[in-house]
């Protein structure tokens, strides 16, 4: 990675965030940040990299903003207003703290549609272009551009504030920020659409954002928990697909291909989070992932512990997905028959949930009830919502049970 690329990674979000605070104009902030990086590309190879690249970039972008605002403001009164605003904001920089935190909370404001929250976060904080974001979410660039424009308009017109929410609002709003980052990670980790099962670039961006959040809010256990969770999942990326792009189940993954350093990092983050009090949902999920990631082999997995963690998760954050995983964990801890009965109780509440017949089929197969397993695989395959790799897995299993 070149120095400029690294600087872009490290500083884009801060430059945009500070410029938004100074000017209140999101488009202007992005344009001036872009110009500052273009100038760096021109100057740095010639003059050398400045001692504080971030400061250099922010000052350059800020000067561009002043120029542009001056050109825009014809009346003297307006001009003075611009000058005063920029001056005050600039001098008191330290007491404003890190603007990226403000930017995160505004991007993830619940008054914006979720898809716009995700796109806005990727554009302004991570610095992805509109075209890159459109490609990541498989929508036409014009659609993504319109989505971003609408969101920025609403922020401006409805006066969505640019600040970290006050104490009583913080837990709820922080949950929204964490939710957006995790959604981004999952979109990359288990792509819901498209030919590829994993899109690692989105995972990496989500982890980067999670790290920024932990850096800015070091005392938030759930922020630590989320970052731990993402690391623990991401550490298994090299083993999740085989050479042909086929999904490899957890028990069959080549554990030597797991990234040990990243697993350790995840476990350390989780321990740091758990020292701070009762665990939230991300920490419990991270603890489950840690159980898997630290087991020497699939047979060594501490399933009773995992089943217990899922019981706790089902209490804290009940959802169909959690119930399904709880059933799987119980099947592993107490046998497929016990898991099947949890699953059957769930089936009544979740008709048409696509992962249900697939999980059921796997449990029936383990019980040796091949005829029933076959029809469950048939049922699963008749439903949409699977990626191509999952579909290939189900087809292979169906063939196995048909052969008996």
């Amino acid at each position: 990675m070149t120095t400029i690329e690294q600087a872009f990674r490290d500083h884009w979000g801060s430059v945009v965030a500070t410029l938004i605070r100074l000017t209140g104009d999101w488009d202007l902030a992005e344009e001036c940040a872009q110009e500052a990086f273009a100038k760096a590309l021109d100057r740095w190879p010639r003059d050398g990299v400045p001692s504080r690249p971030g400061g250099w970039l922010t000052t350059t972008a800020r000067n561009r903003a002043i120029d542009r605002l001056r050109r825009r403001a014809n009346e003297q009164a307006k001009l003075q207003e611009v000058g005063a605003m920029l001056d005050v904001g600039w001098r008191d920089d330290d007491e404003f703290g890190d603007d990226r935190l403000r930017l995160m909370f505004t991007c993830c404001h619940p008054a914006l549609p979720l898809e716009a929250q995700v796109a806005l976060t990727l554009r302004t904080l991570a610095g992805l272009t509109t075209i890159e974001i459109a490609r990541a979410f498989l929508v036409p660039p014009a659609t993504m551009a319109a989505r971003l424009t609408r969101a920025k308009k609403k922020i401006h017109n409805a006066a969505i504030p640019y600040r970290v929410p006050a104490g009583h609002l913080l837990p709820e709003r922080l949950a929204g920020v964490l939710g957006v980052i995790y959604l981004l990670f999952n979109e990359g980790y288990a792509a819901t659409e498209g030919p590829s099962l994993v899109r690692l670039d989105l995972c990496a961006e989500a982890i980067r954002l999670g790290r920024v959040l932990v850096e800015l809010m070091p005392d938030e256990p759930e922020a630590l928990g989320l970052l731990a969770l993402m690391h623990l999942h991401h550490a298994r990326r090299a083993a999740r697909l085989d050479g042909d792009g086929e999904l490899v189940t957890l028990e069959q993954q080549d554990r030597s291909a797991w990234d040990r350093a990243e697993i350790d990092a995840g476990v350390r983050l989780l321990e740091r989070a758990l020292r701070r009090g009762p665990a939230g949902a991300y920490q419990i999920q991270a603890a489950i992932a840690a159980c898997h990631a630290t087991a020497q082999s699939s047979d060594d997995t501490d399933w009773p512990q995992i089943a217990g963690l899922y019981n706790e998760l089902a209490r804290l954050a009940p959802s169909p997905v959690v119930e399904l995983n709880r059933a799987v964990a119980i099947a592993m801890a107490d046998g497929p028959a016990a898991g099947l009965s949890v699953l059957d109780a769930l089936g009544l509440e979740l008709p048409g949930y696509h992962l249900l017949p697939a999980t059921r089929a796997d449990l029936l197969r383990r019980l040796g009830r091949f005829a029933e397993a076959f029809s469950a695989y048939e049922e699963a395959l008749s439903q949409s919502g699977y990626t191509d790799a999952e579909r290939r897995y189900l087809t292979r299993r169906r063939g196995e049970v048909a052969a008996g």
């Binding site: 404001h109 008054a111 017109n157 409805a158 006066a159 969505i160 504030p161 929410p165 609002l169």
Partner: protein, 107 residues
């Protein structure tokens, strides 16, 4: 920042007798942030007006025949959307109906 707050609910809904509906405590809390507001007569008393090709078309009823109707409005003056959301969430109708907050086109 000025917002119009539309108070929306099902006109035919029967509320439990212990459900508070008196907006007065909310009006007191809003204080000077509530510039004006009122409850509206039922949507059956509404009249819609359209002019097409020079013809004035009058119809009985609200502009959209939906189960939930606008039952009142308030004009709020708040620092930002978060303040407006917080104020709206304390309105008694928020417990069983819906409040829509729309920023003014210009202040």
């Amino acid at each position: 920042m000025k917002y119009l707050m539309l108070v929306i609910g099902d006109e035919n809904m029967t509320l439990p007798p212990d459900q508070p509906t008196d907006p007065q405590p909310w009006i007191d809390e809003a204080g000077s942030r509530r510039l004006v507001g009122n409850r509206l007569q039922p949507s059956s008393d509404a009249t819609t007006v359209r002019v097409r090709n020079g013809q004035t078309l009058i119809a009985d009823g609200p502009f959209a025949e939906t189960k939930e109707q606008i039952g009142g409005f308030d004009v709020l003056e708040c620092a930002d959307l978060d303040e407006a959301i917080e104020l709206a969430s304390k309105h008694p109708v928020a417990q069983f109906g819906t409040l829509e907050i729309r920023p003014f086109w210009s202040s």
